[in-house]
C-alpha cells in the first residue's frame, strides 16, 4: 500500500513541475505587468512613498506618508471624511444599478421577442440593439449630449409644437442613458445567444403541458439561459461602475461618478495618492459583482459534472 503511494507520488512530481513551468510565462507576465503595479499602487495609497513610488511622490500634493511599518490609512480616512466622496460613491452605485437593470430588461425583451415571436421585425430590433457596438464611445457620448441638450433634437421637436421638453444634458439621467446605450450591444448578444440555445422541443413540451407564455419564460427559458444572463449582468455592471467617457462628457459637475473622480484627482488636483484610494474603492465594489460571476461559473461547472 505504502509502496504504491510512493510510486504514484514520484511519477506525479515531474508532471506537476512541468505543469508549473508551462504555466510560468503567463503567470510571470501577469505578475510583472499587473501584479507589481497593483502592489506598488496599493502600497502608495498606504503611504509608502519611497522606492519605485518616489517618482510619483516627488510631485504629488497632499500626500500622507507612512509612519509605521505597514503604512497608514490616513489617505482613506481623508477621502471617506469628505461628503463629496461619499455622494460620488452613492451616485456611482445608483447609476450602475439603474443602468444594469434597464440594460437587462431591454436585452431580455429583445431576446425573448426574437426567440418566441421571431420574424423579420424581431431580428431587425435585435440588430439595432447591437449597432452601438460599432460607434466609438466618445462620439456616442457627444451625440447623446447634443441630442438631449437645451438646443438638441428632443427640445427642438417639442418646441415645434409649442411644448417645453426638459433639457436632459449634464444630468445623472444622461449618464444612465449613455451607459445603457453603450452597454446594450454586449448584453443583447450574450442574452439572446443564451435564449436562442434553449431547444424548441423544451419550449414546446412546456406549452403542451399547458404552460402559458409567462410560465414558459419564467420556469423554462430563463433558468436554462441563466449563466449567459448572469455574465451579461456582471459585465455590464462592472463596465458601468468604472466608466469614464460617458459620465465625463454627459454628466453634471457634481455629483460625479468615481471614474471621473480618479481622473480629476490624478490630473487636475495633482493628488495621485487619493486617486488610488478611489481606484481601490472601485476595485472593492467590482469585486462584489465579480463574486456573483464566479458563483455563477461554479454553478455551471458543477451542473456539467452532474
Amino acid at each position: 500500500m505504502r509502496r504504491t503511494r510512493v510510486a504514484a507520488r514520484s511519477s506525479g512530481q515531474p508532471r506537476a513541475v512541468l505543469g508549473f513551468v508551462m504555466a510560468l510565462p503567463p503567470l510571470l507576465l501577469i505578475a510583472v505587468f499587473a501584479g507589481l503595479p497593483i502592489v506598488l499602487a496599493v502600497g502608495y495609497s498606504l503611504g509608502h512613498t519611497g522606492g519605485l513610488n518616489s517618482v510619483t511622490a516627488s510631485y504629488a500634493q497632499h500626500q500622507h506618508v507612512a509612519t509605521s511599518g505597514w503604512g497608514t490609512f490616513a489617505a482613506y480616512r481623508e477621502m471617506l471624511a469628505t461628503g463629496r466622496f461619499r455622494t460620488d460613491v452613492a451616485v456611482t452605485v445608483l447609476v450602475t444599478l439603474l443602468s444594469t437593470a434597464v440594460v437587462l430588461v431591454l436585452a431580455l425583451g429583445i431576446a425573448l421577442n426574437l426567440r418566441l415571436r421571431g420574424g423579420r421585425v424581431a431580428g431587425a430590433i435585435a440588430a439595432l440593439g447591437v449597432i452601438p457596438l460599432f460607434i466609438p464611445v466618445v462620439i456616442a457620448s457627444w451625440a447623446i449630449l447634443t441630442f438631449y441638450s437645451t438646443d438638441g433634437f428632443i427640445r427642438s421637436v417639442f418646441a415645434q409644437v409649442g411644448l417645453d421638453a426638459p433639457a436632459l444634458g449634464f444630468k445623472v439621467v444622461t449618464i444612465v442613458i449613455g451607459s445603457v446605450w453603450t452597454s446594450l450591444p454586449f448584453a443583447v448578444l450574450m442574452v439572446s445567444s443564451g435564449i436562442q440555445s434553449v431547444p424548441d422541443a423544451v419550449i414546446d413540451a412546456a406549452r403542451d403541458s399547458g404552460a402559458g407564455l409567462l410560465r414558459t419564460t419564467r420556469s423554462v427559458i430563463l433558468p436554462m439561459a441563466f449563466i449567459p444572463i448572469v455574465i451579461a449582468t456582471t459585465f455590464t455592471a462592472i463596465g458601468v461602475l468604472g466608466s469614464f467617457t460617458v459620465p465625463y462628457f454627459t454628466g453634471p459637475n457634481s455629483p460625479r461618478m468615481l471614474g471621473v473622480d480618479i481622473q480629476n484627482y490624478f490630473a487636475a488636483y495633482n493628488q495621485p495618492q487619493q486617486a488610488i484610494v478611489i481606484a481601490v474603492t472601485i476595485f472593492v465594489l467590482a469585486s462584489g459583482i465579480a463574486v456573483l460571476y464566479i458563483w455563477a461559473n461554479f454553478r455551471s461547472a458543477n451542473s456539467k459534472d452532474l
Binding site: 510560468l24 510571470l28 505578475a31 510583472v32 507589481l36 518616489s54 517618482v55 510619483t56 516627488s58 510631485y59 500634493q61 469628505t82 463629496r84 437645451t150 438646443d151 433639457a167 444634458g169 449634464f170 465625463y248 462628457f249 453634471p252 459637475n253 457634481s254 455629483p255 480629476n264 484627482y265 490624478f266 490630473a267 487636475a268 488636483y269 495633482n270 493628488q271
Partner: protein, 382 residues
Amino acid sequence: MKRLTTVVALGAVTALALTGCAKKSGDDTAASSGGKTTVRVLISGDTNVQDLWDKGIVPGFEKANPNIAVTVELDLHGEHDSQNLAKMAAAVKGNSDSGMDLIDGGFVLQAAQAGFLAPADPSTVPGLSDVPGDIIKAGGGGGIPYRGSSVLLAYNSTKVAKPPQTLDTLLAWIKANKGQFTYNSPKSGGSGASFVTTVLDKYLSPADQQTLRTGYDQALESTWDKGFAELKSLNQYVYQGGVYPNGNAQVLQLLSAGSITMAPVWSDQFISGQKTGQIPATIKATQISDPSFTGGAAYLGIPKNSPNKAAALKLASYALTPAVQNVIATTIAGYPVIPLAKLPAQTQEIFKAAHPDTLRPTYFSQVTNDMNKAWDDKVPGK
C-alpha cells in the same frame, strides 16, 4: 522552499526587465551625430502650436545655427502629460536621457516645481532679460515664458450693446440675466479658471494675491471662502441653473450657438476662432477691470540632465527674439512676452487694447490644483 524560489525568480525577472529598460534609454543618448547636435522639442498642445514651431521658429533657428538640427514631436492636447512628466522624472532621477530636450506644455510648471528642469534666468537664457520678472518668477525657476495669452469677456453684441466694464457690473449682469452666462469648470480649461481666480481675488489683499501667485501657501487658501460663497450664489443664474461645461471649447460653442450671451474666453482661441469663422463676427470681446481677468504665459522647460542642454537653451533664447515674438503674435495670436515697443508697429496696433504687458498672472500651479478641487467641492450642485 518553493515559495522562496518563486520570489527569487520573480525578483530576477523584474531586475531583468528593469535593466532592459535602462539599457534602452541609455542607447537613445546618441541623439547627436556627426558633430551636429539635435534638439528634440516636445509640444503638448494643439496643432496650431506645432505649426508655430515647424514653420515659425525652427527654420529660422536652423538657418542661424547650421550645426543644430531641431526635431518637433506633438502630443495632441497634452493627453500624455502625466506619462511624459513621469518619464522625465524617472530620467532625471536615474540620470538617463528622457528623450526630450525642450518641452512646450502645461506640465513644464509641475516639472519646474519638482526641480527636474535646468534653471532659467537671463544668464543662461539671454532673451529673458527683456521679460517682466513676475512672469519669470511664476515659472518656478525652470520655466521659460515665451508667449502669453489672457482671458477676455466675450459677449453676443446682438443682445448686449454695452458689456460690463468691471467685475462687479459683470456679476450684477449675470444675476439680472438668468441662464445667459457660464464658464467651464476651472480644472477643464484656463478661461473658467481665470473667472474663478478673478472672483476669488476680489476678496484678497494685493499682498495675499501676490503670495499665491509666486509660491505655495496652503494656509492662505482659507481666504478664498468669501469668493467661493459668491461663486456658489451664482449657481442659479448660470446656464441651465448651474451647468459648467468641461473645457474652453464647449463654452465657445455654447456662445457661438447662441445658447448663452456672455462668457470668459481665451484671447488666442477667440481671435483664431473668429479668423476661421467658427465664432461669428457678432460675438465681441473686451477686457474687464477691478480686477481684470488673468492671463498667463506658456512656458518652455529643459530637463536638467538633457544631453543637448546648451543647444536647447540657445533655441529657448531664440524664441524670445523680436522676430519670433512677432511670428507668435501674427500666427497664433499669442501675446508677446517682450515689450511691445520692440515689435513692428503693425503688431503693436493689434495688441494695443489687450495690454499684454500688464498681464495679471494666475495662481502658482500647486495653488491652482487646490483651487480646482475646492471649486469642485464647493460650487457646482450646492
